[in-house]
């Protein structure tokens, strides 16, 4: 539970790190791209707004000049007597006003009184004198005048163009329909929320704003400063271009909402986002798959290392324990020798005594024998522990394990028979022979079979299996129908002196010696409890060819 939690944590961190690693650069890239794209769109809008205002300025100027020029031609061509005649003016009006943009024509003499008029407002203006009007004075001084837009008597917006003849003998004045003029600007609109209009110097709108703006905003007013050429300013979401026209009397405004030109940008952005989302998701899946894979490897590796660590620890422990046991055995052998010598000496001297004088003669004799017996016991232990005889005799021959086991069984068959224990053999027919120390291995088999005999009850079963392993080795298994080994004992079962048998019945050296022998022959021995009950000892030994 604890462990899986640990792996989950690693998995989360790993896949999290991968996701961050992938998504963060992608998101940054996307954001930068978006910002660049947007800037490009804004630049483009600014460029087109600049071009547009330039064009509109030309159109407006041209329109005004055209009207002025027309009037100038007229006053140049016709003397006051001719134009002052109402009939002539009527004819002329019809001739020049085919487009319909001229609302009326006035002919005024230099003293300001009206000579002739053609147009819809004839009644309301008869008998008017214009001498004091500022525009009239301007015409007399400058030769021409173009007025701001104003609502005429009928509340129709219009403006006035007036010129005088070179002799300044009279003034020809035309009222121009603003509607026509407005139309010129209408086409100057960029996007549905764009705007374009003209204001005079005071900021009064000369043409209507298509967005319904009635007067200039505070910000717009700051743009009214006189400037050469086109000025483009960007405030928030709006780009405003301004351009002075008509000798600095009117200012042309063209406005565009950035929003309106962002359509393609949004489309682009949607595309990019979906591409990023798609790649992001596939990377996410990859990251998760990789994390899973990595984690599985990690778990496997950890497990292998733990196993390896386990056997290493076991081997080291056995080596240390073995060295210690041998050291102790060595040191004990000399005192044991002295004990048995001294006891033996007493035993040899006792017969020289007068039996009449030694009351407990029999007891002494018995006691001496007991001492010798116990020294023998201790000696057996130290000798087994040191593997004295086997070390000296050790010698390798070509061994057939089936035969060797069979021979070992013959040593214990009688004893097994008494207890009604059956020994079942599963021998591999084609078991290869190998170079090994036969007598020593026989000792191992004897230990294992004796242990099994001790473990099973009357009528128990011992199964011995031999088989060829997969990596040029031989596997020997000794299984029994006994109670098996308690899990808590599994770890120390090969330790010297580990025994569950009564004192004097088992020294706990059998498995230790077996382990040592197998180990020195380059093999391994392992114990397990069988699912079907009982213990199974498995020995693996390498196949070594003679020579």
């Amino acid at each position: 539970m604890e462990l899986s939690n640990y792996y989950t944590k690693i998995w989360l961190r790993l896949s999290g790190a991968f996701c961050l690693l992938i998504t963060v650069p992608m998101v940054i890239l996307a954001l930068v791209t978006f910002s660049n794209l947007k800037d490009a769109v804004i630049d483009k809008t600014e460029l087109s707004i600049g071009r547009l205002i330039e064009h509109k300025k030309d159109v407006v100027s041209l329109f005004l000049e055209e009207k002025e020029d027309l009037l100038k031609i007229l006053v140049g061509m016709y003397p006051i007597d001719f134009l002052g005649n109402q009939e002539n003016l009527n004819t002329l009006f019809k001739a020049v006003n085919q487009a319909g943009s001229i609302v009326d024509l006035h002919v005024i003499d230099s003293s300001g009184s009206q000579l002739a008029y053609v147009g819809p407002y004839a009644k309301s203006i008869t008998g008017k004198n214009y001498f004091d009007a500022p525009w009239f004075q301007e015409v007399l001084i400058n030769g021409s005048h173009v007025s701001d837009v104003f609502l005429g008597f009928r509340k129709v917006p219009h403006f006035v163009v007036a010129v005088t003849d070179p002799l300044k003998s009279y003034v020809l004045r035309a009222t121009i329909n603003s509607e026509t003029f407005n139309k010129l600007l209408l086409s100057a609109q960029i996007g549905p929320s764009g705007d374009s209009f003209i204001v005079n110097r005071e900021g009064t709108l000369q043409t209507p704003s298509s967005q319904g703006q009635k007067e200039l905003t505070v910000h717009d007013k700051t743009l009214l400063e006189h400037h050469e050429g086109t000025a483009i300013t960007k405030t928030g979401e709006t780009i405003t271009a301004t351009r002075w026209v008509k000798d600095g009397q009117w200012c042309l405004f063209v406005k565009a909402r950035i929003e309106d030109s962002l359509g393609p940008f949004y489309q682009n952005r949607r595309n990019i986002i979906s591409v990023i989302a798609a790649t992001g998701i596939s990377f996410l899946v990859l990251a998760i798959l990789f994390s899973n894979y990595f984690l599985r490897r990690l778990e496997l590796y950890d497990r292998k290392r733990a196993e390896l660590g386990g056997t290493m620890v076991q081997m080291e422990k056995m080596a240390t324990v073995g060295r210690m046991a041998a050291g102790i055995a060595h040191e004990i052998n000399n005192p044991l020798q002295m004990i048995t010598n001294q006891a033996g000496w007493i035993g040899e001297l006792l017969p020289d005594e007068d039996p009449a004088l030694v009351k407990n003669m029999d007891e002494y004799v018995k006691s001496v024998e007991q001492i010798k017996h116990h020294v023998r016991r201790a000696g057996t232990i130290t000798h087994r522990l040191l593997g004295f005889s086997r070390k000296i005799a050790s010698e390798k021959q070509n061994v057939q394990f089936n035969d060797l086991i069979e021979e070992t069984i013959s040593f214990v068959e009688t004893e097994a028979g008494y207890n009604n224990i059956s020994i079942i053999r599963h021998y591999a027919e084609d078991l290869p022979t190998t170079m090994a120390d036969g007598p020593q291995l026989q000792q191992v088999f004897l230990n294992l079979i004796n242990n099994a005999i001790d473990a099973v009850d009357q009528g128990g079963i011992i199964e011995i299996t031999t088989a060829t392993g997969t990596s040029n080795d031989i596997i020997l298994e000794f299984a029994d129908s006994g109670p098996g080994i308690k899990p808590e004992n599994l770890k120390q079962i090969f330790d010297p002196f580990f025994t569950t048998k009564d004192p004097g019945k088992g020294t706990g050296l059998g498995l230790y010696i077996s382990y040592d022998i197998v180990q020195k022959l380059g093999g391994s021995i392992k114990v397990e409890n069988r699912k079907s009950g009982g213990a199974v000892f498995a020995i693996v030994l390498p196949v070594i060819k003679q020579g």
Partner: protein
Amino acid sequence: MREFNVLVVDDEEEFRDLTVKRLEKRGLKVLGAESGKQALEVLEHSHTDVVLLDVKMPGMDGIETLRQIRILKPLVEVVLLTGHASVDSGIEGMKLGAFDYLMKPIELEPLIEKLADAFERKRLQQEKIEQAQMKRHMAMPG
């Protein structure tokens, strides 16, 4: 049992003296030596059939002493006895021609048996040599 001469070589006095005493009580002729050097001296000056030699001794150790004995008295049999079994010294000792390699603790009976066996071998060996010498002697034209 035949009477024969034994030399007990051991640096531990208690063991040496007691072993000498006990072997004598069994009717053997026994001497003791506390080191390899002393053992070689004794061998030179008195008749010895079998040497009981401790492997681990200070100064000249058992194996070295054995080597010297083989040079000095090739016919004398040597039985090695040790509390410290070491594979190397055991194998080495057997290679150098020791009669056997015994491990402490050992009781007197089996020890005497071993010594007797060693003496027996020595006796046979000597007999063979004597016979061979005799044959040569007789074959020589008078």
